[in-house]
């Protein structure tokens, strides 16, 4: 028998298999078209710009755009002795264009970051150019070298060449308090300037401890909410949900009031005699404030997933454990606790991810020691306008979050995210 005769045909005479596949494909396209508008919108306005952050972070085109001719002529320079007349000539013509556009200050700033001392000599060169002191009919190399002795120093020309590569890991190294030195080796910045590593460590430390505190406080109340009769637990649930729905800034403001030196918490401590009235402890503008406020703000994110998991655990399991001879503690530890692990995973990773990107609350109640890496990103975005550096730090943070999220997915599964 040939295979054709075995095929089942639909009423139109088309083989059923093909007809089904066609219908299936149609359904697939239909489903996809429903998702398409949002997907497209997010890809254009969100996913793509995140990708753009990456190109920005490795692409320090600023300097190559400023000195195009110089870098062209520098290509043949071996970088050991002073460059040729040609390099000096093209540098001067690039520089003149910059002076016309009034961008020579930007160049000086950028070069000074690469090697100290460029500020002065660029200014000197600027004055010479402004007064038309440089005679183009004579050797330009000689004239520039006369402007300042540093222009005769080969190290400064090497520094210019070093800024040339269009793709650079400099911003990432900077975020780790490192840089490429003259010999292209990764070196650490001097100890008193290692600020970023402190910030990374502090960010992870704050996120970790906030997660621990949230777990320690969230677990008992989630358990209570899950075991109490519905009419009581619904009432108590409001205590969790109301903060959850309340503005972050409102909650931060209330902690600022509570924790100030004349605030309610200190009043209470004085009242119960824990501290004397004239010796009230400083609880705000330091880590205490950050921890307290962030724990309260993120606690609902711990309680809700825990609660939804605990709600599904039948109380008869605990009773069975006890009836089999376990003490309540053993029954809890061997029976109940392992069953809540999915909830613990979800809650902890949710809180950790939220805490690691936190910025508003630490900035308001944390004082100087409350500055986290997010504050630094915001600072470079808004104040120094070093967007490529901000992008580099942002992507490093995102990398960390994605690793955590991947773990979360492995352990708990994305579909288990529950909202209230």
């Amino acid at each position: 028998m040939s295979s054709e005769t075995k095929q089942i045909l639909t009423t139109d005479g088309i083989p059923l298999e093909i007809s089904l596949k066609k219908a299936e494909r149609k359904n697939k396209i239909k489903a996809f078209l429903l998702v398409a508008p949002l997907l497209l919108f997010l890809i254009i306005t969100y996913i793509f710009p995140i990708g753009e952050m990456f190109t920005r972070s490795i692409d320090d085109k600023m300097i190559t755009n400023m000195l195009p001719k110089t870098f062209k002529s520098m290509e043949t320079w071996d970088g050991k002795e002073l460059p040729s007349e040609e390099v000096f000539t093209s540098f001067l013509s690039d520089f003149k264009i910059l002076v016309e556009k009034k961008e020579h200050g930007k160049l000086a700033q950028r070069l000074n970051k690469e090697k100290n001392g460029f500020n002065t000599i660029t200014k000197k060169l600027f004055r010479q150019v402004k007064r038309n002191k440089i005679d183009e009919t004579q050797s330009i190399k000689e004239q520039i070298m006369k402007v300042h002795k540093r222009w005769r120093n080969v190290e400064y020309w090497q520094a210019i060449k070093r800024t040339a590569p269009p793709y650079t890991s400099a911003k990432y190294l900077k975020a780790m308090d490192m840089y490429l030195n003259e010999d292209n080796k990764i070196t650490q910045v001097s100890e008193d300037r290692r600020i970023h590593r402190i910030l990374w460590l502090r960010t992870v430390e704050v996120a970790f401890f906030v997660t621990v505190f949230c777990f320690l406080m969230g677990y008992p109340i989630a358990h209570l909410l899950a075991t109490l009769p519905m009419k009581y637990s619904n009432l108590l649930m409001i205590c969790v949900l109301l903060p959850f729905w309340t503005s972050l800034l409102v909650r931060t403001a209330s902690w600022m009031i509570l924790l100030q030196q004349q605030g309610v918490v200190n009043d209470f401590f004085v009242l119960i005699g824990l501290v004397s009235d004239d010796n009230r402890p400083e609880m705000m503008y330091n880590k205490v404030g950050t921890y307290v406020a962030m724990t309260q703000i993120l606690l609902p994110f711990m309680v809700l997933p825990l609660y939804s998991v605990m709600k599904t655990i039948s109380p008869s399991l605990m009773r069975a454990g006890k009836s089999l001879g376990g003490t309540p503690f053993v029954a809890f530890w061997k029976v109940y606790f392992p069953l809540t692990i999915p909830g613990i995973g979800a809650g902890c990773l949710l809180v950790f991810i939220l805490a690691i990107g936190y910025y508003i609350t630490p900035a308001l109640v944390g004082g100087a020691s409350g500055t986290l890496i997010s504050n630094q990103i915001a600072y470079h975005m808004k104040t120094t306008l070093d967007w490529s550096f901000a992008s580099a730090m942002g992507l490093m943070l995102l990398g960390g979050v994605l690793v955590i999220y991947w773990l979360y997915n492995k352990l708990v599964g994305v579909d288990n995210i529950k909202l209230g």
Binding site: E24, K28, K30, A31, F32, L34, V35, P37, L38, I44, T45, Y46, I47, F48, P49, I50, M53, R56, M217, P220, I221, L224, M230, I238, L241, P243, W245, T246, S247, L249, V250, R251, A253, M256, I257, Q260, Q262, G263, D267, Q296, L299, P300, I353, I356, G357, Y359, I360, L364, S374, M381, K382, W387, G394, L397, L398, Y405, V414, I417, L419, G420
Partner: protein, 284 residues
């Protein structure tokens, strides 16, 4: 939670200890919200309870900060509130429409690449806000939408849709698809089926997703700080500047209003959740 009579003393002690811990945590969660209430009626300028307030002296209380909030000279709150509401309403509408349609597609069993698409759609919720802020700012700056209402609305749609997608897909997971087939067999076209059959059934999920989107937009400060110009100031921006510069009682008056608003939102969200559970036949 009454204990059985035969409970040993050490478990009795442990039980009371546990209740004490829970009480402390509940107070820790809710008390900060209540501290703002009385202080916003303070007649004085200081943010501490005055002697008069402690003795419940009526003269120690006043509405002066509420008056300042509404009528104060050079007052930013009016404009901020107007902007906040306009932005939040449009952002909610956008998120709800885009999110619900996407959720319908996602919960179809024919959907290809479901995992990766779902991950993309909810990514704005997982990526730390500061990074979203930077990325969205780059886009809006390039598109010429920085410091415009449109730009902020679009940004808030990005941040709000994941909530709608999640709540609506959750509602649809308990949805009986035979009702739409029944409608189709009775001659209804897909749009009509959606409006007359599907939408009324998933409405609680849609609205509660919308509430999430509204609150997200209304509270959002990180992204808006990058995007907003002077004309686009919102309540969170004003609060942020106020809290950074000096903590004035007017902020507490605003905060009290916000707490009242969030209470209303909480109540509606709870009612909707219960209605949704009833409709989906989940009885607990």
């Amino acid at each position: 939670m009454a204990l059985p009579k035969y409970t040993e003393t050490r478990y009795r002690i442990w039980h009371y200890f546990y209740i004490a811990i829970c009480t402390f945590v509940f107070i820790f969660l809710i008390a900060p919200l209540f501290v703002i209430f009385p202080l916003s009626f303070n007649a004085e300028e200081f943010l501490v309870f005055s002697e008069g307030m402690k003795n419940l002296d009526p003269d120690a209380f006043s509405l002066r900060w509420y008056k300042d909030m509404v009528y104060g000279t050079k007052n930013p709150w009016g404009l901020a509130a107007k902007n906040s509401f306009i932005i939040a309403i449009f952002a909610t509408l956008g998120s709800v429409i885009l999110g619900t349609v996407a959720a319908l597609g996602l919960s179809s069993r024919h959907m290809p690449f479901k995992g990766i698409i779902m991950a993309t759609l909810i990514s704005p919720m997982i990526v730390p806000l500061i990074i979203s802020g930077v990325a969205i700012f780059f886009f809006m700056a390039k598109a010429g939408l920085a410091a415009t209402h449109t730009g902020i609305v679009l940004a808030h749609i990005i941040l709000g849709t994941p909530f709608v997608v999640i709540t609506v897909t959750a509602t649809l997971s308990g949805f009986d698809h035979s009702v739409t087939r029944a409608a189709a067999s009775l001659g209804s076209n897909p749009v009509n089926t959606f409006m007359k059959v599907t939408l009324p059934l998933i409405l609680p999920g849609v609205i509660s997703g919308g509430l999430f989107a509204f609150v997200t937009s209304f509270d959002e400060v990180v992204v808006v700080l990058f995007l907003a110009g002077l004309e686009n100031t919102t309540i969170p921006i004003q609060m942020w500047t106020g809290l950074r510069e000096q903590l004035s009682p007017t902020i507490l008056a605003v905060a009290t209003c916000l707490i009242v608003l969030s209470t209303l939102i909480l109540i509606s969200a709870e009612l909707l959740r219960r209605r949704s559970e009833r409709l989906r036949g989940i009885n607990r």
